[in-house]
């Protein structure tokens, strides 16, 4: 029997600042948002001062089948967000990150330093600066991209108007690849060189090495990476700076939809209902992450 150094009462005392902090800044807002989401409260007009309790009306309206998939509604926004996450996070950032990390595996030199430095610089640059740079890059008449495409005779589309979703997917891939790249790079460097050398000796092809050695060993890292960037991409707001959610709501991610409803249209009740749904989706994603972290030791190859 080992007695704790601190009595139970003392440990509660020591933990209380953290509990109070969490209660004040996490639990209270969470509960209050759920409460507000059941009112018709607005920030302007009569319902700003005297909101009515409307139960689940806000939720019912969000999910009303007749307009659920209209532009500027919940379903459409969710659909845009899913495409954005799959395109820019799962395929774009994770794919490109894995590619760069594999290409430069166990290499040193100027090019590797250059590529890594640029990717990280892009990742840490302030949002507004990045948005301005992309406006200059994508401008249909004077932009860098169209200057290159025009010189190659490939046409000069108006990217942000004709291909808005594709534009922000490219943008977010470019913006966030560094995280996946760094994570995979350090994971790869943890694989003992002898594995690959042995494979070379027995004459394994590149595909076999990838399938039988790299992917199984990288799997837990890939899982961590995918879940984290999915969560971040799901909640990102930066594309707003490029498109404002438009044109005609075609890039209205859930974060932008929440913002527009609550803080631009001032329907804070309905906006809170959207926020609650977004929180629930996040909760599911975070649970997947936590569960996969716990089960990670089981995924490690036993031999």
């Amino acid at each position: 029997m080992q007695r704790s150094i601190l009595s139970r009462r003392i440990s509660v005392l020591f933990a209380s600042p953290a509990f109070i902090f969490i209660a004040l800044f996490l639990i209270y807002p969470f509960v209050s948002i759920i409460f507000i989401s059941m009112t018709n409260r607005t920030l302007v007009g009569a319902t700003a001062q005297n909101p009515d309790f409307v139960g689940l009306d806000n939720y019912i309206r969000l999910f009303e089948p007749s307009r659920w998939m209209n532009r500027g509604e919940m379903g459409f926004s969710l659909y845009i967000t899913v495409q954005f996450v799959i395109g820019s996070a799962l395929i774009g950032q994770a794919g490109l990150g894995l590619l760069i990390a594999t290409l430069f595996q166990r290499r040193k030199g100027f090019i590797r330093e250059l590529v890594f430095s640029l990717a990280v610089a892009v990742w840490i640059a302030p949002d507004v600066v990045v948005a301005f740079a992309w406006f200059a890059f994508l401008d249909p008449f004077d932009g860098t991209l169209n200057a290159i495409l025009g010189a190659l005779g490939l046409g000069q589309p108006d990217w942000l108007l004709k291909y808005p979703l594709l534009s922000i997917i490219f943008f977010n891939t470019w913006r966030g690849t560094a995280f996946s790249m760094l994570l995979f790079s350090s994971a790869l460097s943890s694989i003992p060189p002898s594995y690959m050398e042995t494979a070379d000796v027995v004459g394994a092809s590149t595909l076999q090495k990838l399938r039988d050695i790299l992917l199984p060993l990288l799997r837990p890292y890939i899982a961590t990476d995918l879940i984290l960037i999915t969560l971040w991409t799901f909640n990102t707001f930066t594309p707003f700076l490029l498109t404002g959610g438009g044109p005609a709501y075609r890039t209205e991610l859930l974060s932008i939809y929440t913002y527009r409803t609550g803080l631009q249209f001032f329907e804070i009740g309905k906006g809170s209902a959207i926020a609650v749904i977004v929180m629930l989706i996040n909760l599911v994603l975070a649970s997947v992450y936590l569960i996969s972290l716990r089960s990670r030791p089981l995924e490690q190859p036993s031999d």
């Binding site: 302007v44 009569a46 532009r71 108007l161 490029l242 001032f266």
Partner: protein, 454 residues
């Protein structure tokens, strides 16, 4: 002996310090901030006329203030958002530059208070009220109370470039009498090489500028308002709405007389101004703000030859006599002004500054910077024949937005409706149906009227 004189000296010093402290605190000016004014003549007026004049005036009156005008860099809709959030938590500048049509929903939300409630009897005793016409008092008013003092009013017209018209062989001065006349001019200009001859605002990114300068200007020409003032109902489906949407469809999709890009891009309004100033657009429906602040030499898209090439024509009805109230030509007015923040820590000083801003001397100084119809009748418009012509020819035709708290949300739906048509997402019929559903949601079915009869 030495000891004693030191003590006296010390006491003397102490007294001096205390006395000077009292004196300083009596004269310490309080800071009054004025927020929401964008760069341009309005801000120059605050910085170069109001600040020196009113600081001196209030100092003489024993209420020393430091006036800090804070420049607003953003759109009017951005400032509305800022001010709603500020006032909602009891913050914000002492004096706020508000648009009149925000007032009803702000009042109902308890965000603003009548001037006399914020600053007391001094407001009622101000001698300036006698100089301000009733119509201007109500711009920042709601249900008989006054929430601020209007800077002035405005009116909307078609601004056109006489040089491009002459090059295309259209006689100047030009007075179209129907929508077809406007479209015909646009076709001629397009054939003569003007890339995007006509600009009629559409889409959500221009915000209220779409409703006022685009949608309502066309809708009034088709004979209707957004709201029926007689029955007190919002019109959600009608032939006039459909005609308006078909006009948009014609301009931006069928004939491509205007640039779809300007309507949909984030900075589309600026792009349209730029296009006009560079001669790629020949007709642009805007308020006199365009003349005063945009194409004025030194303005954001200033034209040194403004006075020679920029003219205006009144906006015609769809057909003569078919306009709102049976008019041949239509326009609509709004107005901005300055209001007191009910949360100000210095209401007396803030009112002192506001009253001084709208003194005769101050507004005469404003008119030297920018000739315009000012709030006071004892401050005449000087030296700008275009502004005088708008006051005498256009202003008598005008109407206003319904001063109702629901207006803004309905207006946002109207903007969305135009965007759906211009972007090609929906047909005019489908866009109108979506608009009807959304407006019924906002104001309740009993407050709407469907004039399509089905």
């Amino acid at each position: 002996m030495l000891h004693k004189s030191l003590r006296i000296l010390g006491l003397g010093l102490l007294a001096l310090v205390l006395a000077s402290g009292v004196l300083v605190s009596a004269q310490e000016p309080v800071e009054i901030t004025i927020t929401g004014t964008a760069s341009g003549a309005g801000f120059d007026w605050l910085a170069t006329v109001v600040k020196p004049l009113c600081e001196a005036q209030l100092s003489d009156a024993g209420m020393p203030v430091t006036i800090s005008p804070v420049e607003w860099v953003g759109s009017g809709d951005d400032f509305r958002q800022q001010v709603v959030l500020d006032l909602g938590v009891g913050q914000g500048g002492d004096i706020l530059n508000l648009d009149g049509f925000w007032i009803p929903e702000f009042v109902e939300a308890g965000l603003v208070k009548p001037l006399r409630e914020v600053a007391g009897d001094a407001v009622m005793e101000w001698d300036g009220w006698d100089q301000i016409p009733e119509g201007l008092k109500t711009i920042l008013g709601f249900q008989g109370e006054i929430y601020g003092i209007a800077s002035g009013t405005d009116a909307r017209v078609i601004w056109y470039r006489a040089d491009l018209f002459e090059q295309a062989g259209i006689d100047v001065p030009w007075t179209p009498t129907s929508w077809e006349d406007v479209l015909e001019a646009a076709r001629t200009l397009k054939a003569a090489g003007v890339e995007w001859p006509l600009q009629l605002n559409a889409g959500t990114s221009m915000g209220e500028a779409t409703t006022m300068q685009g949608y309502l200007m066309a809708l009034l020409g088709a004979g209707q308002h957004i709201y029926d003032f007689e029955t007190g109902k919002w019109i959600v489906r009608s032939q006039a709405i459909l005609d308006t949407l078909n006009l948009y469809n014609d301009i931006y999709n069928i004939e491509e007389l205007g640039s779809q890009r300007f309507q949909l891009a984030q900075n589309g309004r600026d792009l349209s101004f730029e296009s006009f100033s560079q001669g790629n657009t020949a007709m642009l429906v805007e308020g006199d703000y365009f003349w005063r602040s945009i194409v004025v030499p030194g303005g954001n898209f200033g034209m040194d030859n403004r006075d020679e090439v920029v003219r205006f024509a009144p906006m015609p009805a769809e057909e003569p006599g078919m306009g709102y109230n049976g008019q041949d030509f239509v326009t609509i007015s709004g107005g901005t002004g300055y209001s007191l923040n009910p949360n100000t820590a210095h209401p007396a000083e803030a009112w002192g500054v506001l009253a001084c801003m709208f003194s005769q001397e101050s507004l005469e100084g404003f008119n030297e910077l920018q000739p315009r119809i000012r709030a006071r009748v004892d401050v005449p418009v000087t030296g700008d024949t275009t502004m005088s012509a708008i006051a005498t020819e256009i202003l008598p035709l005008t109407t206003i937005r319904p001063p109702l708290p629901e207006y803004n949300r309905v207006s946002a739906e109207a903007q969305l409706m135009t965007e759906r048509v211009v972007s090609g997402e929906m047909t005019p019929e489908a866009a109108m149906d979506a608009y009807a559903t959304a407006v019924i949601d906002i104001v309740g079915e009993e407050n709407t009227v469907d004039m399509m009869g089905s």
